[in-house]
Symmetry: C2
Subunit: 466 residues, 2 copies
């Protein structure tokens, strides 16, 4: 059921190297579905042009970064790196893809031959998934021939823009929830495959689990879900519906109590399930008032341990607004999967350096007033103050920055001459990213967790070699 690169295809031995050392991993990665056509046509026409001009083999450095954070956000969270690496392992052009490109005359014969043999053999560094990022942070750098790197633009940006948007929104929500579990239930509000990726990104952003079954299966996430109004309406009475659910799911289930009248729903729920009822869910109305009323009613009925879950059009602001309400968990849908107003985080994929005919690196950048980028290879570090909080981000341009005091390297190596580091793919990478996000956000100054619009939580400086 995976679109591409099932995690099981990119296990501990996965690599892109198809040479003699790769052995089983090369065979393993071929079992995924080809992802070569997740590509914009201009990448293929640039490839053809470069193959013709002779510049295709020039060693090049491409960089993924955001020019700014979405309006007033204090930080972003890198999401999607693991998915990108899994897709990269399957970035190739099978017979179907090549036949279509040929029939539609998209590129010429030599370019088709080049695509047929494509296996990424370059090196990729970047911010580990779950890491906080800021404007200009080089969250992914691809070093390869121009030809090998240029074709990855759309694949990298599609995945990183989407998943980072959701992970960034999720992180704000879980901060606002201040320890109460957040539950991802937005699948119905986004594309069916994007929903799977969104669930994964939400968990990286600190969500407890997801309602999405495929996300649970593919990435080993906790799943959850009880019932909708339809289940109550199906039965002749609310009691019958509650009784049916308790019969099949036990007393620990969560009953949806707002189909008819909340107070009567709560009373029936406790009568049917007993005071040990697991939880009740509120999905409409003024949640602040209702949560207080329902908590009082549950307590008066003796159901003091019954939890209250709320789920109606929540975002980080609504969650913060319920901080004083007796709510035990938040179910978040639309706002989460659409990045809470910013469904994409503005990441771009730019050529920042390439070699000339003598093999020397040349920094390159578009000369434009409103789309500035910094040429050259980047070496990013985060500086940590005496109190353990990050103070700023320093990005060496062309060489490692010379700074004093405590620092933390931000770039890790994902791919080395075509071989993917297994630490960054598969379900384990999701767990690692979840922990990393908590640490990275925890390391930021307190201003980072403000919901109000403002400047990035820390400054970023680009430092060129002296």
């Amino acid at each position: 059921m995976n679109t591409y690169g099932s995690p099981s295809n990119v296990g501990p031995d996965a690599g892109l190297d198809t040479g003699p050392d790769a052995g089983p991993s090369a065979a393993q990665l071929r079992t995924g579905r080809p992802t070569g056509l997740y590509t914009d046509q201009y990448e293929l026409t640039m490839l053809e042009g470069a193959l013709k001009s002779g510049a295709a083999e020039r060693r090049s450095m491409f960089e993924v970064f955001a020019r700014s954070l979405p309006d007033g956000r204090r930080y972003g969270i890198v999401g999607g790196t693991g998915r990108f690496l899994e897709a990269l392992a399957n970035y190739r052009f099978g017979d179907d893809e090549l036949a279509w490109l040929r029939e539609h005359d998209i590129v010429d014969g030599p370019t088709l031959d080049w695509l047929a043999d494509y296996r990424f053999d370059g090196t990729i560094h970047g911010y580990a998934e779950g890491e906080a990022f800021f404007p200009g942070s080089p969250i992914l750098t691809v070093e390869a021939s121009f030809a090998s790197g240029v074709v990855l633009e759309t694949l990298a940006l599609s995945i990183l823009n989407h998943d980072s948007a959701v992970a960034s929104a999720a992180s704000r929500m879980t901060s606002a929830a201040a320890g109460r579990p957040c539950l991802e239930m937005g699948s119905r509000r986004t594309h069916e495959e994007a929903a799977v990726a969104a669930a994964r990104a939400a968990v990286i952003g600190g969500f407890f689990g997801t309602s999405n079954m495929e996300a649970g299966r593919r990435y080993g996430l906790r799943t959850l879900g009880t019932s909708a109004h339809a289940f109550t309406l199906l039965h002749d009475t609310e009691e019958e519906a509650f009784a049916a659910q308790v019969r099949s799911h036990g007393q620990s289930t969560t009953l949806l109590v707002d189909t008819y009248d909340v107070a009567r729903g709560v009373e029936r729920a406790v009568r049917v399930a007993g005071v040990g009822l697991g939880g009740v869910r509120l999905d409409s109305g003024d949640l602040l008032t209702q949560a207080r009323d329902v908590r009082a009613q549950l307590d008066s009925l003796g159901a003091t341990s019954t939890k209250i879950t709320v789920t109606s059009d929540l975002d980080e602001y609504a969650i913060a607004g319920l901080a004083a309400a007796p709510v035990d968990s938040y179910g978040v849908g639309t706002s989460l999967v659409t990045g809470s107003g910013f469904p994409t985080v503005g990441l771009v994929y730019k050529l920042v350096a390439r070699q000339n005919d003598d093999g020397d690196w040349v920094s390159v950048a578009k000369a434009s007033t409103n789309k500035a980028s910094v040429g050259g290879r980047k070496f990013p570090i985060r500086r940590i103050g005496d109190d353990g909080h990050a103070t700023d981000e320093v990005i060496g341009v062309g060489s490692y920055p010379e700074v004093t005091g405590r620092t933390r390297d931000l770039h890790v190596r994902f791919v080395d001459d075509g071989r993917i580091d297994p630490a960054y793919v598969g379900p384990e990478a999701v767990s690692a990213a979840t922990s990393r996000r908590a640490e990275s956000v925890g390391e930021l100054p307190d201003t980072a967790r403000k919901l109000q619009r403002g400047e990035p939580a820390i400054d970023t400086a680009f430092v060129a070699a002296r």
Copy 2:
């Protein structure tokens, strides 16, 4: 490479009926990937509860509708119906899916057995893809056993919410473009599979073509694309880059002229390619001023037939703002694939009627102040005035509405006792939807095409049987 339901798997003979009459079509549809886990857990727990309570086989009517249009929009465009039907043909639970559900104790044994045998055998009516819709329009109605219908909620909503959001935004953009071609190039700003669906929905909304290769292959869409700044920066000079592109793609290619200096870029482009150069692309700066300057420069150089394409952060308002500029086509990215501010259109999937133990239909609806729905089966028609423009939408509740004058039925039958009508799936359905959208929007009063916020273009009335 398809996620599910390749159009080729849902050809003219495709059906869901697995009985003796179905023959080849049943085998055909099984070649798609299972889509059963594109489902929220609560649908499966409701299924289990209903199987236990005995209500699972109650004949039920589920309806997809929007409570309102996104803020101030005048109409919406139905998108995704064809993709939903293709996914429905593959909605089943294979060994992998069942094993995962069993291992994680999501549902009990009898429910697993029921899922293993699942083939949708109900009937589905709805608005044909490309049709305009309004608040309350029943764009999809699913009539089946409760069990068969309840599990489709997430699949239906994921697809229809996403694709309708993009088709609706696209329609506003192509109206604003007033005949100039709009080109979809947003793949880098959305999930990689959502990008494929977005390209399809954009074309339904009137876009000329897409940069997305997989969308071209899967749905037979026109594709296009030339080069990015990276191609210019790769070469030692802009001239070399232009010459390489013209050598490989011919004089009719479109050259990106704003990497360094637009005026010099245009001069070099014409010098290298000749006055027969196909086009130039502007991707930054003040497009209105630049387009005028570039047009004047091209004309003065004799390149009077060279086209100008603009592509920088356009939405329907920016497109409208360029109406007086000498622009020949618009490339639209982020705003299109994210629904121009509304990445989901708020469609919900509700149980509106179900039979009781006597086999009588009972209308049902949640009693809630802010989430009202109208119970019962719907029969929607659009009334057409003497001038050929739609005047209002009338939705019969429980029976066909009794109205006079010229009318148009809005419901078509997509699935009849499990058999999918081939007219509504595959690449041909996309072409049909493209035409339908143009006709349906053309039929609306002129206010429909206003970009300013306002009321829906026509009113909707619910009429109950007398």
